[in-house]
Symmetry: C2
Subunit: 418 residues, 2 copies
């Protein structure tokens, strides 16, 4: 099946708004074993949309068209679609009723502009939009099925999930099989090593495609299993996942929607344990990642940004003499920060980070990119030194990931001891 994408909107051609919809659709489609062949972006221009639709219809089996279905005068996608199909625009009765009900409920006036959204090409199959005003509609252009959704990301995703993907699954050639998909997320493993460790599995799982995606500082392994039935695909996926997990071991921190911070917060929550941080070069990024997780307050009471030497002493009780003797970026100071902040806050665990993020700073022993991490916990203290390559932003991002991961691996080990 040849699938294309047509995005409409002046804002996509001026760099004002990046197109986040298409990458999301493409990733979602991969899970069905399908991919996009071509993407086209045109402005809010009726002739341009009509012409692009006509060209695509000659090549593709399916085209997903987004944007230009709203209430304003520059929303011209429905008109362009009608022209491409050689039909008139007609008012869809069900959409008019839905819009009337929607606006009455919100006590908003129903202007003629709002009702413009109910006008669709004659013969189109119309679907309701539960999260917005504009409808979904499907139209046949020659041998091509064109599916129209609004460009607003929440509406786009909802309608792709509920209207577009089910249709694509249905339209697939019989015998194209069933698919099952899983992302295994790793950290601390360069992509080349991930590839090398996973390569031997390919031969053992011929029905499974192994893909890689680098989302710094993480590397993700994507498993797509193809089977004769959903059960067959799921069984093939489970076998491949088991082998992959065995090879990758504790480098796998989660799957699918998991984030590293979410995994750490969940593990701590399940154990009834708590965490604090003392951050120097990451300057709040570890705390920000943890507090990005809703409900983090159950395990994370807070911590300190000990960016300067004086605050390392004031908030984490690092002796000023230790800093003078060993330097702010040193194993000793990282350990002392973790120990000090943990004692201060009375938490089960503490993470400490100190390093040179650059571009300035650093010394021959500890150059820019050198980061010391420490984790203090109930049964001891762990330390790691990293040397991250790249600019300030990258060093800080990798240090944040490595810090959370150092704690995760300790928690994981302790799971094993139970």
């Amino acid at each position: 099946m040849r699938i294309e994408v047509l995005c409409t909107g002046d804002e996509l051609l001026t760099g004002v708004v990046p197109d986040t919809n298409s990458p999301w659709f493409m990733a979602r489609l991969l899970r069905l074993g399908e991919r996009v062949s071509r993407t086209t972006v045109v402005g809010d221009d009726r002739a341009a949309i009509r012409d692009a639709l006509g060209e695509i219809a000659e090549r593709a089996d399916v085209v997903l068209v987004s944007g230009g279905l709203g209430p304003t005068a520059d929303d011209v996608t429905a008109e362009a679609a009608a022209e491409a199909a050689g039909v008139a625009l007609v008012e869809d009765v069900a959409t008019v009723a839905r819009l009337r009900e929607r606006y009455a409920r919100r006590q908003l006036p129903l202007s003629p502009n709002v009702l413009r959204q109910a006008r669709v090409p004659a013969g189109a199959e119309v679907g309701a939009n539960d999260v917005g005003a504009a409808p979904f509609f499907a139209l046949t252009l020659g041998r091509c099925r064109a599916l129209f959704v609004p460009g607003v990301p929440a509406e786009y995703r909802h309608l792709v999930e509920t209207q577009v993907l089910p249709r694509i699954e249905r339209w697939r050639a019989p015998g194209s099989g069933a698919f099952s998909f899983r992302i295994l997320k790793t950290i601390g493993l360069p992509e080349a090593r991930l590839d090398e460790q996973v390569a031997p599995l390919s031969g053992r799982h011929p029905g499974v495609t192994f893909g890689f995606r680098v989302v710094p500082p993480e590397s993700h392994l994507e498993l797509l299993a193809r089977g004769t039935t959903p059960e067959d695909a799921a069984a093939k996926l489970a076998a491949a996942e088991k082998d992959a997990r065995a090879v990758l071991g504790e480098c796998v921190f989660g799957a699918d929607e998991d984030t590293l911070a979410h995994v750490v917060v969940s593990m701590l929550g399940a154990r009834g344990e708590t965490l604090t941080v003392a951050e120097s070069c990451t300057g709040g990024l570890v705390a920000a990642a943890l507090t990005d997780v809703a409900g983090a307050s159950q395990v994370f009471p807070g911590g300190a940004i000990t960016y300067g030497a004086a605050l390392k002493t004031a908030f984490a009780d690092v002796p000023a003499e230790l800093i003078a003797a060993k330097g702010e970026v040193s194993a000793e100071v990282a350990r002392s920060m973790a120990e000090g902040i943990r004692a201060r806050t009375g938490t089960t665990w503490a993470i400490a980070v100190t390093g040179y993020a650059g571009p300035g700073g650093g010394d021959p022993r500890e150059p820019v990119g050198a980061v010391h991490l420490a984790v203090a916990g109930p049964t001891g203290m762990w330390h790691e030194r990293h040397h991250f390559i790249g600019d300030r932003e990258r060093v800080r991002r990798f240090a944040t990931g490595a810090a959370l991961d150092l704690l995760r691996r300790r928690l994981h080990e302790r799971e094993g001891e139970r």
Copy 2:
């Protein structure tokens, strides 16, 4: 001039890598008073690239083609270009010499794959790439000028700046004039208000286009002045900018590449003053924004993440009775946090943030989205209550911006008093 974009690469069709190059090029092009008419993305497929090039060449005056110029077998853009032009691929002598020199300098072996990158369509005009291996080349397809650059962002941007944009400027119709561009960045002003305040200026500056771009929580005003000469364009821009700044007042925090955190750090640095933070709902985001600025340590020694009530007392000396009486999310607690952390750290200024980011929490008086901000300084204390709409991520992002901006406006006022 009709300009199109053709991006090649399987990774752009699977959602693995978002296309950040095109939005950057489009924004850069706007500053020349030009815009992109259509964007096409195809995979690493010779026939698909060739066909797309052929179609575009019939419509466009200029096409920027990116990706597929590297050393591996799936890099087929040069071959596709040669096919589209009906010419052979030839080895470019200057590129071979540059590659030999580049690899010798790095003491890397010069494999046949590396030399593949020197093969360009016969008749192409070749330009050197100072930041990578693959060359830039330009080719005429019918009446269309096709410009080829690698997809690696650093190389893409370098070659667009040095090879592509100068050519587009040169090829413009005589009399299309000179352009001058400026972004004025505002915060605390909804887009509709910005539009309303700026609208009257349009009539007074007919040679200047006023554009808006929302980068939450900021709104940016883009001024593009068109003149007969560069001096004329610059003068028109200066006049429009002066009027816009007069209307927008202290809502303008910076221009062009400025960031809000950078402006705050610079203002503090210029005054020899310092800042600390006590963050609750933002959980490290204010500190992370400040420490994202290289050299922030000169003005920011650090601060505290006082996420739970106990740490508000332990690190910012907020009386436990005050928290019990007024609630963690209250004007009184925000003020006390700012006062306490400022006294603890001995800094000139302190920012405090406490609120409900959601999705849980909140009470009838202070629902989810309610955020109290306080700034403590040498001449007093300032407080603001905001109610941000949206999800957890949005509330935290807006609270971070508003907190930095509350301090910026106080610093700005004091500039006036000097």
